[in-house]
């Protein structure tokens, strides 16, 4: 049977989304670094162009000032001791050793080897005087206030083209990541489709097996055959549990929730009874500490949560281990004495197809189902696990679900 592509198989499943985000984060960071470098180069080119334009103007000013200084030196000094000034620029003269002779500059010169450079909000132009040191000057500096139009234009262009490039490269990135993730998506789609297709074929035979086991007359049976029947029952229930999970995964969680008042104590007792044969086969014992608690929730869904937690507690328990189930008004706890999980991997247990122990059967979908139901109803789940010591899973009920119950009781 072919199953159409569903939400489960789209690109944005958790693991794929995480890979997508990681790749995009790396890609965008690299792209932004590249754009930053290009932006800086663009800024520098604008600056160089502006300085080039200013150089011609300031050279004219410098020549004019040089003539004025020369005139003062040759014809007027020391009778006239007023340094020549201009309203268009400020200037300064420095001697051969770089010591100041006279300065009208706002900023002290920083370079005696650069002909033009920016300093604070001004531009300095340097004219080196050769042969004749009029007024003792070897270096003549011209200073002008900077016009920031070029900078505004440069920044505007950088932001505009940068944003445009970021969008275009981002689209390319998204396109590339889809190509890179396609093999992973295809394999997950294949697995999902396989599960969906096979699930539909499991129902009838499992139901027939379980019904016939229940109907068999055990009194007529020898002890040997009864043991065999128990084994068949365990195997059938294991497959049935798996079938329930797969059915939920493929069909049930898409149906509308049928919320009702669920007696959790009765539910847990029923599910413990259901799994008792499986637990007995592994010599795992149950200890129940149950108080009355009711929850307004879909019965099928809360049963999936309880079933999966109990099933895992049995599956990953040691032989002769135990399972303690505690139920209180606002929470229930399933604690086992099993193999436990590495603390660093606890956060990964809810991922679909994630299995930490390949020795046990299963698809790694049980806790993923639990998590999706927990999220749907706003329940809280906390996992504490110690390797080789056991796992404790606590499910807390939100106050609003309990309030609903109070409202009904009061009403």
């Amino acid at each position: 049977m072919l199953v159409s592509k569903s939400k489960d198989t789209n690109l944005y499943r958790n693991s794929e989304r995480r890979s997508l985000f990681r790749f995009l984060a790396l890609y965008i960071t690299l792209v932004m670094l590249l754009l930053l470098v290009l932006g800086m180069l663009h800024y520098r080119s604008h600056e160089a162009l502006m300085l080039s334009n200013q150089r011609t103007l300031m050279l004219n000013h410098a020549n004019k000032q040089y003539k004025a200084i020369k005139k003062l030196h040759n014809e007027e000094y020391p009778e006239n001791r007023v340094y020549p000034r201009s309203s268009q620029f400020r200037s300064a003269i420095y001697d051969l050793s770089g010591k100041k002779i006279f300065s009208l500059l706002k900023h002290c010169p920083e370079h005696f080897g650069k002909d033009i450079y920016r300093i604070s909000k001004s531009i300095h132009f340097l004219k080196t005087l050769d042969d004749n040191y009029y007024l003792g000057a070897k270096y003549l500096f011209i200073e002008m206030d900077e016009d920031f139009t070029w900078r505004r234009e440069a920044i505007k262009e950088i932001l505009l083209y940068g944003a445009l490039a970021l969008v275009v490269l981002g689209i390319f990135g998204l396109f590339f990541v889809r190509i890179f993730l396609r093999p992973m998506r295809d394999s997950i789609t294949l697995l999902d489709n396989f599960i969906k297709d096979t699930t539909h074929e499991l129902n009838t035979p499992i139901s027939a097996i379980l019904a016939n086991i229940e109907m068999m007359d055990r009194e007529q049976m020898g002890e040997k055959n009864e043991k065999k029947l128990v084994r068949i029952n365990i195997a059938a229930k294991t497959v049935s549990h798996l079938y329930q999970d797969l059915t939920y995964l493929t069909l049930n969680h898409k149906r509308k929730s049928n919320d009702e008042w669920i007696d959790l104590k009765a539910l847990i007792e029923d599910r413990v009874e259901y799994f008792s044969i499986l637990a007995t086969s592994k010599k795992v014992s149950f200890t129940l500490d149950l108080e009355a608690s009711r929850l307004f929730i879909d019965g099928v869904k809360i049963a999936r949560v309880v079933d999966n937690l109990i099933s895992n507690a049995i599956k990953y328990n040691k032989r002769n281990g135990s399972i303690i189930i505690t139920l209180r008004e606002n929470y229930f706890i399933v604690e086992d004495t099993g193999i436990g999980i590495d603390a660093q991997k606890v956060n990964e247990i809810f991922e679909r197809y994630r299995r930490f122990n390949s020795s046990e059967g299963g698809f790694g979908i049980g806790l993923n189902i639990v998590k999706s139901i927990i999220n749907e109803y706003g329940l809280e789940i906390t996992v504490h696990s110690l390797l080789k010591q056991g796992t404790t899973i606590k499910v807390e009920f939100p106050k609003n679900l309990k309030r609903k119950e109070e409202g009904v009781n009061n009403g």
């Binding site: 030196h73 040759n74 000094y77 020391p78 001791r81 007023v82 340094y83 001697d95 051969l96 050793s97 010591k99 100041k100 002779i101 006279f102 004749n132 040191y133 009029y134 007024l135 003792g136 000057a137 070897k138």
Partner: protein
């Protein structure tokens, strides 16, 4: 009182320094076409830095030659090279320092 005495001593000292420059330099140069102002500007234009200015001037005044002279060769042909100074090193330094301070553009430009 002590301040007054100190001030008078300082003025006398400065006056004494100025006197060396005045007696040894100004008295002659004030009647010559090569004025002290022009000579200063010529040395300043050539050496730029205070130390070079003073060292080269002192060297010339102690052993004047046509080669060391900054003044034009035509002037030397007409007036010949000046005689070596009779001032002691100390007096010569004092006179040159006074001369530098009097026209130094670093101090005088406004």
């Amino acid at each position: 009182m002590a301040k007054r005495v100190l001030l008078i001593c300082l003025m006398l000292l400065l006056n004494a320094k100025a006197d060396v420059y005045h007696d040894a330099c100004v008295t002659c140069h004030q009647y010559q076409p090569a004025t002290l102002e022009k000579m200063f500007m010529l040395y300043l234009k050539t050496y730029s830095v205070e130390l070079s200015f003073k060292v080269s001037l002192k060297e010339f005044l102690k052993k004047p030659t046509e080669k060391k002279s900054l003044i034009g060769s035509e002037f030397i042909r007409n007036f010949s090279v000046k005689d070596p100074t009779r001032l002691s090193d100390k007096e010569l330094d004092e006179a040159i320092n006074t001369y530098w301070d009097l026209y130094n553009p670093k101090k005088n430009l406004k």
